[in-house]
């Protein structure tokens, strides 16, 4: 008699495409009928997970067409079934998978487009957080500014891409912008955020991108500013900071005594 752990692991392997004769033998009915009955579950699992991937990567699906997407999704699901029940969060490995997927070689930007869609999905599902007001930063002493760390909106994601994927993405949203997309044009640095119920995808300058990326990694203001300056010697940190505040992208701050400063204000 099949023990429950063996039965469940056997069914998992069988529905993901491995031959498991001991599972078929444990199902009531002759072999062909038992296989057909198990296939009902397999069909439901593969089609419902394909639908979940379509929902999470709708633009990739429209770019390659639904049939090709289904073909890729089938291969992906067998390799990377979900590990948790929230299917709105299924597909973290899909961008890397589709980038390396041999039959999609002719579309080298697909991986980055999928990364952008994953960021959009994460932004959509990120927790809500109230933005801080400009005035609240006034309580920070000027001498502490270099050590200030700023918490960014939890929905904010950063993407560096070699392809104009934000324009491909935008062309598949409603209402669509009418401009043609030059695939050969320069890549971009993108900031993805949710504001209210809307998803914003913005292309930013290299210095702003480096600054925000450093903040997101928990770097203090001094180090984030240096990262911005390293990307562009004319980087204006005050302006970048004001913009983050105006766009309500900051949700908290703290002053960490990360180094021992020789001089303190009395």
């Amino acid at each position: 008699m099949l023990k429950l752990p063996d039965l469940q692991n056997g069914v998992r392997l069988a529905v993901l495409g491995r031959s498991r004769p001991e599972i078929i033998a444990a199902i009531l009915g002759e072999e062909g009928e038992a296989e057909a009955r198990l296939r009902i579950h397999q069909h439901h699992i593969l089609t419902s997970l394909t639908e979940a991937l379509k929902a999470n990567f709708p633009v990739v699906c429209r770019v390659v067409d639904a049939r090709f997407f289904g073909y890729a999704a089938d291969a992906f699901i067998r390799l990377h079934p979900p590990s948790a029940p929230c299917l709105a969060e299924y597909g973290a490995e899909f961008p890397d998978f589709i980038r390396a997927f041999e039959p999609a070689r002719a579309l080298p930007y697909l991986g980055d487009l999928a990364r952008l869609e994953w960021a959009v999905m994460e932004a959509r599902n990120a927790p809500d957080a109230a933005p801080i007001a400009t005035e609240s930063l006034r309580q920070v002493a000027v001498v502490d500014y270099p050590d200030l760390t700023l918490q960014l909106d939890p929905s904010l994601r950063l993407i560096r891409t070699l392809w104009p994927v934000e324009r491909i993405w935008a062309a598949h949203q409603d209402p669509k912008p009418a401009e043609p997309i030059q695939l050969g044009s320069e890549g971009s640095r993108l900031i993805v955020r949710r504001r209210g119920a809307e998803i914003e995808v913005e292309s930013v300058e290299p210095a702003t991108f480096a600054f925000v990326a450093a903040l997101r990694h928990g770097r203090c203001l001094a180090k984030a500013g240096s990262a911005g300056l390293a990307a562009d010697p004319f980087f204006d940190m005050a302006m970048a900071l004001r913009r983050l505040l105006a766009e309500q992208a900051l949700v908290g701050f703290s002053v960490l005594p990360t180094r021992n400063r020789g001089v303190r204000e009395p």
Partner: protein, 293 residues
């Protein structure tokens, strides 16, 4: 009228609807008369608009949480992270019912997104009871456990489903969600007797009844198999089973589920009203054709 008074200690419960994404906005905007709604917690676990919409609906009417992801029959045990997320949503929504399925979905770290059938054995009973007890303890709530639609039977199953459920109720104090469409689908596919099932489960434990439509598909090797796709009106034999169920479980509220080919909200509302009429007819002891009325 006397029968109505003896069967109910209060007004008969009204039928709710399973709320799905296409109808969310309409219900938030107050354009639904549904007395209560049921949702899958898995669809509301992120931040953002969906959870906010659900909380705004909760201000106007009772909400039931009907989980599909806890995998109560898994030998691997309960996914603690998922359980914590169910609990966090439950604390915000304050549902009047919390339910899950008598099935399994996870094995070896993979979540298979299907309500897979358990063998009804002592071993599976022990594992499921342990999982149900852990979930109930973590949530601080009684769970209602739903009978699944079955497409296959395990050779080594040693007891009928109703007995397995009755034992589970005895071991954990959980309740039962009686899905009459699933009873019908399982009867057709696997030959179980739904009336025997209705008689064999502890009537006091049944806290909710589900109604839904199903599809009829050909199966390889000939014959026909019923698929529980929740994609159609409630079928006539399922209405008949529903009438039997409400006679036995008069206080369990019923729910209309519709998950594929989802129609207008008004169609679901009409289906719920039909269920209310079957219940009233059953209460006063007359037979009633839900489709015609």
């Amino acid at each position: 009228m006397t029968l109505l008074q003896t069967r109910y200690r209060c007004l008969p419960p009204l039928t709710g609807i399973g709320l799905r994404a296409p109808h969310l906005e309409e219900v938030v905007a107050g354009r639904s008369s549904a007395p209560w709604v049921e949702v899958h917690p898995e669809n509301y676990m992120g931040g953002g608009s969906a959870a906010a919409a659900l909380l705004s609906i909760r201000r106007d009417r009772p909400v039931s949480l009907h989980g599909v992801g806890l995998s109560l029959g898994s030998a691997d045990g309960i996914d603690q992270r998922h359980l914590a997320r169910v609990k966090s949503l439950m604390l915000r929504v304050e549902p009047f019912l919390v339910s899950e399925h008598l099935s399994w979905s996870s094995a070896g770290g993979a979540y298979l997104n299907d309500l897979l059938p358990l063998p009804y054995t002592e071993e599976a009973l022990r594992i499921t009871a342990r999982n149900v007890a852990r979930v109930q303890e973590a949530l601080g709530r009684r769970l209602l456990i739903e009978n699944p639609s079955r497409y296959l039977s395990w050779r080594h199953s040693a007891m009928p489903e109703a007995e397995f459920l009755a034992e589970l109720v005895r071991a954990t104090g959980c309740g039962i969600l009686c899905d009459v469409n699933n009873l019908h689908v399982t009867q057709h596919n696997c030959g179980a007797d739904p009336l025997r099932w209705l008689d064999a489960v502890p009537a006091d434990a049944v806290g909710e009844i589900h109604l839904a439509g199903h599809a009829r598909n050909p199966i390889d090797g000939g014959g026909e198999i019923l698929i529980d796709d929740h994609g159609d009106h409630v079928a006539e034999p399922v209405w008949e089973l529903f009438a039997e169920a409400v006679r036995r479980f008069p206080h369990a509220p019923a729910l209309i589920e519709w998950d594929s080919n989802i129609p207008a909200l008004s169609v679901l509302a009409a289906e719920a009203r039909a269920a209310d009429r079957v219940r009233s007819a059953s209460a006063i002891g007359v037979s009633f054709d839900a489709q015609v009325a």
